[in-house]
Amino acid sequence: MLGNEGPSVTVEGFDGPLEMLLQLVEEKKLDILTVRLGDLADAYLARVRALEALPAGEVASFLALASRLVLLKARSLLPALAPIANEDEGQTEEELRARLMEYAIVRERAGALGDRLRSGERAFHREGGSAVDLPPRGGEVTALAAAWSRVLALAARSREEDMVSPGERYSVEERTDEIEAIVIEHGEVTFTALLGAAPTLGWAVVTFIALLDLYRRSVVDLEQDELFTDIVIKRKVRAVPETPA
C-alpha cells in the first residue's frame, strides 16, 4: 500500500502524495468524480520533480503514486493494454478515485475540526469534589506511581510536531511594573540587563512590549548609540529632558 512507504513528509505544503494529487484536481477545478486521473500524470510528475530536495527514501511514496498515474494514462491511450499479470489490486482508476474521494472527505473533516478548534469554543469540566473543605485522603501510592510511569512512557519519545511547545507564560502588566520599578530605583538600565542571562523568546517579547508601553506613556526614554548596540532605558524626568534630540 501507498501508506507504508517512508515517513511523513511535509514539503511546500504537501503532506503526502494523495494531498498533492487532490490539490492538483482542485487547482485545475476538475470534478473528482469524472476527472481522468491518468491525465494528471504529467502535472503530478512535474510537482514530484520539484521535490528534489527530499531524501530519496521520502520521495518513494510520491513516486509510487506517479507510476500509478502513468500506468492509468498508458491504459487510456492504449485501451487494448491488458492488465499486467503481477499487478495487485488497487491499481484501477476506480480504486484510486475512491481513495482520493475518501481522502478529500478526511481533509474536509479535518478542516471542520480545525475551525472548531480555532473558534475556541471548547468545554471545560469540573475537577469535582464537594463544597465541604475536607483534607484529601484515600490516595493510592500505586496509582500515583502508575500515573508517573504513564507520563514517562508518553514523554519518552522526542517531539517533532509543529505544536507550540509549552513555555512559561509572562504577563506584560507585571513586567511593565517591574521595569518601571527598576528604572525608578536605578535611573537607567540596559535592554540586555533586562533580558537577563538566558532569555526565552516569550520573555524577550514581553519585555519589549512592556518597554514600548512605558515609552508610549512617557515613563522612560529609549537611547541607542548605534544600530545593533544595546538600548539604554532611562527614566524620563518631566520638564527636564535628559537627552538632547
Binding site: N4, G16, R99, L113, R116, A123, F124, M163
Partner: protein, 184 residues
Amino acid sequence: MRSPLANAVEAVLFVAEKPVSRAEIAKVVGGTPKQVDAALLELAEGYSGTGLRLAHDGDDWQLVTAPEQAPAVAAYLGADRLRVSPASLETLAVIAYRQPVTRAEVEAIRGVNCDQTIYTLMQRRLIEERGRRDGPGRPILYGTTWEFLECFGLSSLDDLPRALTPEGTVPEAEAREVGGSSSP
C-alpha cells in the same frame, strides 16, 4: 419542574471528579438504568440555554461548561488554546469518525505514515489506545478521548461536524472497504 431523580443525578455529576457511568449513577441515586436514562435526558434538555452542558462518551456522563462560555472560563482558569497541526488534524479526523481504527487503516486513508501524528495526539491526550484488533499482529486500536470532546466543544461523538460533501458522493461501504483494505 425537574424530577427528584434528575436533581440527584445532577448533584452526583457535579461532585464527580471524572465521567460517571450510567450503572454507577443508577447505583448511587437508587434508580433503574431506565429511570437514569430519563433523568439524563431531562437534564440535557434543561441545560439548553444555560452555561452548562451534559456530555457523554458512550455510557459515561459528565457535566461540562457550554462551549460558548469558553472565553470567560479560559480567562478565569488562565488556560490557553490548544493548537494542532493540519497533519495531526487529518489523523484525528480519521480516528474520530472511524474509531476504533488501527494505525495501518489511518495510513491507508491518508496515504502517508502516521506514526508521528498518532504519537502527538496520544501525548495531547486527544486519542487513546482501545484494545487490539483480532488477527495477525493484533494491531493496536485507537479511539478519541474525553479531552477530545472537551477541546472541540462536543457533547458527544454524535456532535462531530458532518461532512459538507454532498450526500452520496462516496458510499460509506465503499469507503470502509478501502480503509480496511490494509488489515486482514
